[in-house]
């Protein structure tokens, strides 16, 4: 099995970041979780530009996107990624506290791979994040192009 890969977490709420990191790290899922605080930073990271111009090459294995973020929101980031041939194959999980049907419909229309409503109940939140991370970073077969680049 290949080694665990990076996760990009786009989340503006520091407490949510702390909780998510706690959940992921408790389960020893990844080597590195890159945390960005808004959609603009997320796009900078994905395109390796701006503050991330000199980052280590390679796409994250999974992107966790909060919907409500300042500047550029999660739906816009998703829209950009799914309209870019290079980024389209990166799995995206919309991670949000919203139960609004419009958000869910919009996310699936834009091509999200999964949509998770952050539960208030922390244990189910951890379970959800863990399941997703395991699924997308360990079990999920990456498309050939990404797999080749990873080698």
């Amino acid at each position: 099995m290949s080694e665990p890969k990076n996760i990009l977490l786009a989340e503006d709420n520091p407490l949510d970041i702390e909780m998510t990191l706690n959940a992921l790290q408790t389960n020893h899922l990844v080597n590195e979780v890159v945390v960005v605080r808004n959609g603009a930073e997320a796009l900078d990271y994905l395109y390796a530009r701006g503050a991330y111009a000199h980052r280590v090459a390679g796409d994250p294995a999974l992107v966790l996107l909060d919907i409500k973020m300042p500047k550029v929101d999660g739906l816009e980031v998703l829209h950009c990624m799914k309209n870019d041939a290079k980024l389209r194959s990166i799995p995206v999980v919309m991670l949000t506290s919203s139960r609004e049907e419009s958000d869910l419909l919009q996310s699936y229309k834009l091509g999200t791979n999964a949509y998770v409503v952050k539960p208030v109940d922390f244990s189910s939140f951890i379970e959800a994040v863990t399941q997703l991370s395991i699924f997308w970073t360990v079990h999920n077969e990456l498309p050939p192009r990404v797999a080749r680049e990873a080698e």
């Binding site: 407490l15 909780m19 408790t26 919203s98 208030v120 922390f122």
Partner: protein, 495 residues
């Protein structure tokens, strides 16, 4: 025929009847006038002619009688015969005779007249109408002395011939006048019928196409012209009112939409922003437990547990409240819903709550209703979940579903349980938001379930109510307007 408009076709069964009516009226009037004129003329002519005939016969009788005095005086039958032969000049004289003063037949005309065609003895003097003819007995006098009697009989044929001719002429006149009246009235009735037909045509356009912009053309200044004006004025008013109404509907819709969007934005931010701190309270309580669980005593662990439970409960409340508020705004669909299938699905999904308890279900055959399947599912899910919840303390739980007799355009479905029930004193509070009749340490809940039930049923045009006895059970009734009742009361769009 008025195609496409059954209502107008009913109003005017055969079109255009007004033309035919006017025509028939004119023809009947004209025909009657001509007939009466002809008939009165005919009667007048009949009497005049009859009188003329009588006076001519009288005159002839007098002349012949005067001429016959000598023949009678000298008892010369040959002379008398010759005098009577002069009657041949009038072809309507069918018989003639001379009687002596003693009453014996002296001479006859025509000479070969059969016996019996002439009276054997003279009757009283004067005129006698006999079978289709007129007869006179004229005294033959000389110097005040009666010499005998003259008998003349006319067959009135001249009169009948003339009357026949007259009747023929009369009939021709009637026919000719009717023909003339037909052509004249056909031209004249247009003046009346055409503006009316034009008006009817316009009314049909309005009724068929709901086009209030058409106008009838005013063709005359008379009452029909006034009617046309009034009709046009009315159309204008309807058109104006329609436009105003549409404008008002548009404005109201826009206002409603704006208000709805505001509400939407509000509930969106509630669901995002209110939930985030709650998630942190719950989440960090768990992290605290993980981090310091071992160093906490029982009291400390209980506090952490209470924090977690309260956060979960608050989250549940927010969810329920948002669902409830969305109910009033979401679009509602109408489709046939098979209640038995719905109830069966809900019962399957309640297995976790039932959790091995023994519940006796009695589900009767439920009718199909018309409504939004997802919303009605919520109604019965809430009612059944309540029934399961409030029978929890029963060793022998019974839940019954059935339909009350369909009456007054309603379908009534009830859910009955033998659970905790409630005091009917508080029945009016039962369906209010956040209203609870039990303590949450006895039966958990947010107080939104029955409020949701009521709102959904009300949106379907129905009503809900409940009957209960404390510790003996409760029955919840859902009354939905039945499909047939609604179909007949709803105005259809195309009529």
């Amino acid at each position: 025929m008025f195609r496409g408009s059954p209502r107008l076709a009913r109003m005017f069964p055969q079109a255009p009847p007004i033309r035919r009516k006017l025509m028939v009226m004119l023809l009947v009037t004209c025909g009657a006038v001509v007939m009466v004129t002809c008939l009165s003329y005919f009667i007048y002519e009949f009497w005049t002619f009859r009188r003329t005939t009588v006076s001519q016969l009288d005159l002839l009788g007098e002349v012949i009688a005067n001429n016959s005095t000598a023949a009678l005086a000298f008892d010369s039958a040959d002379d008398a015969q010759q005098i009577l032969a002069a009657l041949a000049a009038d072809r309507h004289i069918v018989a003639g005779g001379l009687y002596t003063a003693q009453g014996a037949l002296f001479a006859r005309y025509p000479a070969a007249l059969a016996e019996g065609m002439i009276p054997a003895a003279p009757d009283t003097d004067g005129r006698h109408f006999v079978g289709g003819g007129l007869a006179i007995f004229q005294p033959v006098m000389r110097n005040g002395k009666r010499l005998g009697t003259l008998y003349l009989r006319s067959d009135l044929g001249a009169m009948y011939e003339r009357l026949k001719l007259f009747a023929g002429t009369g009939a021709l006149v009637v026919l000719a006048s009717l023909a003339l009246a037909f052509f004249v009235s056909r031209a004249l009735q247009r003046q009346i019928s055409e503006p009316i037909l034009a008006l009817a045509e316009t009314a049909r356009a309005v009724s068929d196409r709901h086009d209030y912009s058409v106008r009838a053309v005013r063709q005359s200044a008379d009452e029909i012209g006034q009617l046309t004006d009034a009709f046009n004025h009315m159309l204008g008013r309807i058109q104006q009112l329609n436009q105003e109404l549409e404008q008002r509907v548009l404005e109201r819709t826009a206002e409603l939409r704006a208000a709805n969007q505001e509400l939407e934005a509000f509930s969106y931010s509630v669901s995002h922003d209110l939930r985030a701190p709650l998630r942190h309270i719950g989440g960090f309580a768990v992290m605290l437990e993980q981090h310091a669980g071992r160093s906490l005593d029982d009291k400390g662990r209980r506090y952490v547990a209470v924090i977690q439970d309260s956060a979960t409960r608050m989250g549940q409340l927010i969810d329920d409240l948002l669902t409830f508020s969305r109910l009033g705004r979401s679009e509602m669909r109408r489709e046939p819903v098979k209640l038995n299938e719905l109830v069966e699905e809900i019962r399957q999904s309640l297995q976790a709550e039932i959790n091995g308890r023994h519940i006796t279900w009695r589900v009767a055959a439920l009718p199909h209703v018309s409504g939004d399947a997802a919303l009605l599912r919520q109604v019965f899910a809430n009612l059944l979940a309540n029934a399961v919840k409030y029978t929890r303390q029963r060793a022998e739980a019974r839940i019954e579903l059935g339909a009350d007799g369909r009456d007054a355009g309603e379908t009534v479905i009830f859910v009955r349980d033998n659970g905790a029930g409630f005091d009917m004193k508080y029945a009016d509070k039962l369906f209010g938001v956040f209203q609870r009749l039990h303590h949450s340490d006895e039966f958990e809940g947010t107080g939104v379930g029955l409020a949701t039930v009521r709102r959904i049923v009300q949106r379907h045009g129905g009503r809900v109510w409940a009957e209960a006895k404390l510790q003996e059970g409760a029955t919840f009734f859902v009354a939905l307007p039945s499909a047939t009742a609604r179909a007949s009361s709803a105005p259809s769009k195309n009529s």
